[in-house]
Symmetry: C2
Subunit: 308 residues, 2 copies
């Protein structure tokens, strides 16, 4: 058995995964605020699972940037880490091999091995959640880059935007096509006088979530439609660039917003094909939903040794 740990900004989840990629046991705790406490919780959860079965390796999906050798967390504000030698710290505490990887790469690896991207040597995945994560496979290899910061789809430029991204740049895909991007689009529309009683009420009650915005867009709510179209615009440009840079055969979409399913995919097919391709006589990628849902992060963490 292997242990996969999904280190999230809100929860830390750890699970036992068998050699068929099946999750047989899950434990989780809220994510503490400081690096020391976070490491303590991860060690505690792993030890709990180690009491259940003999363990081959532990993998940790980290929501940040790792060193090129994947031993050190270079940059991870959501888990209070910076230049943290996390692999070594965890190996000393657990006395077993520990592999690190970007959380989006972990989720993507799970889809490549057991889910929507199975057996696809040229593929990509967008994770559409609070932010936008990315996963990129080229000729069967996961792209991690020279400095460990490849496949950060959320920070590619798709056009000028009315507010800057959390990363400091303007025009990031994440500001168009994430939950935060949808919320910012709705607020801007309401401020500009677009009428939407339901969404205005949700803002007041602090309940403006992704499901509500996408459900309202489906029903033609004017502010929600503007937000949805902005999301599709951003994704269509990002996909156009991906098509002209690595030319994937399949693109999967995961994360909470991808639960919109065909409402999202149909809009993307319309926006991307074929107007967004320099060579319209060439096949465009297939768009599919991710299949493993929230389990992908834990399952994929147990595959992170494949990246080394």
């Amino acid at each position: 058995m292997k242990i996969g740990i999904d280190l999230g900004g809100t929860n830390i989840a750890a699970g036992l995964v068998n050699r068929h990629g099946e999750l047989t046991e899950v434990v989780s705790e809220k994510t503490p605020e400081t690096q020391g406490k976070i490491i303590e919780v991860m060690v505690h959860l792993a030890k709990k699972l180690m009491a259940c079965a003999p363990i081959g390796l532990v993998g940790i999906g980290v929501p940040g940037v790792l060193s090129a050798d994947a031993k050190t967390v270079i940059h991870c504000p959501n888990a209070d880490m910076m230049n943290t030698p996390l692999a070594q710290i965890m190996e000393e505490a657990l006395k077993t091999s520990v592999y690190l990887g970007n959380d989006a790469n972990a989720a993507g690896l799970a889809e490549s091995h057991y889910g929507a991207l199975k057996d696809e040597p040229n593929a990509a995945m967008f994770t559409l959640g609070t932010g936008v994560g990315g996963y990129l496979v080229v000729s069967g290899k996961v792209v991690t880059g020279a400095h460990g910061c490849a496949a950060e789809f959320g920070h590619t430029y798709v056009g000028p935007r009315h507010y800057d991204c959390g990363c400091g740049l303007n025009g990031c895909l994440e500001t168009f096509s994430s939950l935060r991007g949808l919320q910012a689009s709705v607020l801007k529309a309401l401020n500009e006088g677009v009428e939407s009683k339901v969404l205005a009420q949700a803002v007041k009650e602090n309940k403006l979530d992704g499901k509500l915005i996408l459900d309202r867009a489906k029903e033609g709510d004017p502010a929600a439609v503007i937000a949805f179209e902005t999301m599709i615009f951003g994704l269509s440009i990002a996909i156009r660039n991906l098509m002209h840079l690595t030319d994937p055969a399949v693109i999967a979409f995961g994360g909470g917003l991808a639960r919109a399913g065909d409402f999202l995919f149909d809009a993307l097919r319309e926006a991307v094909v074929p107007e967004q391709l320099a060579y319209p006589d060439i096949a465009t990628p297939k768009f599919v939903g991710a299949q493993l849902g929230n389990d992908a992060g834990i399952i994929g963490a147990t595959l992170l040794d494949r990246l080394v």
Copy 2:
């Protein structure tokens, strides 16, 4: 010995290349207008070289898109080809193995083996000429994509532009950062009343070439400076996207406009580093000039068997 053929829109050049990557003999002819005549010229040039030495293989760099198996030219308006089974046609005529590849990939392969990108497993090259070509290496593999249209940097989106690209899209890098892009920027500036006697005169005499525009930009000519800054803006966005997608360690620049050398590279360093990176504490790529000049196309064509 191997034969490399560089099929250009203006000239067809063929050369003998030895196993050290040295070009020992070159022959060339003007590119005819029709597919039939173009193939005749390529066969004629190759046979001339075959009379000089025993030949292991023939490689052809094609300015267009190839099928995923690299046997068929799917799309190549500059050489009057569409769905042309060029590898088979040439193999039957020459009775030897023929390999095809995109011309930008041929030039990039030459730089990866003998030039500016030697021994770099994560690298990219922009070819800045009449248009913008691209070459992308990830984990030591040249990225050709699922449909053979990867690394088309020239058609990635970098922002809205006052005219559409030849490909039909708006916002292509090529419309900002190629010779055509520079010319369009100068013409727009002159039309809007920006003063530049030298460039206005060059337009009249049909002598508005890349060297003149970049030389004038260096000297502070207002219309040339606008064109140069537009070129740098486009490249800086394209590089930002490349950094967040494949994260190369080194980016080389070839083609006529790259002869501007440090004037170009210094401006790019200033535009890209570190404001254009979501993680400013992470190393940015090195920018270097391509080293093999016009020979890269012929030399690299003899390496196209490595892509299969």
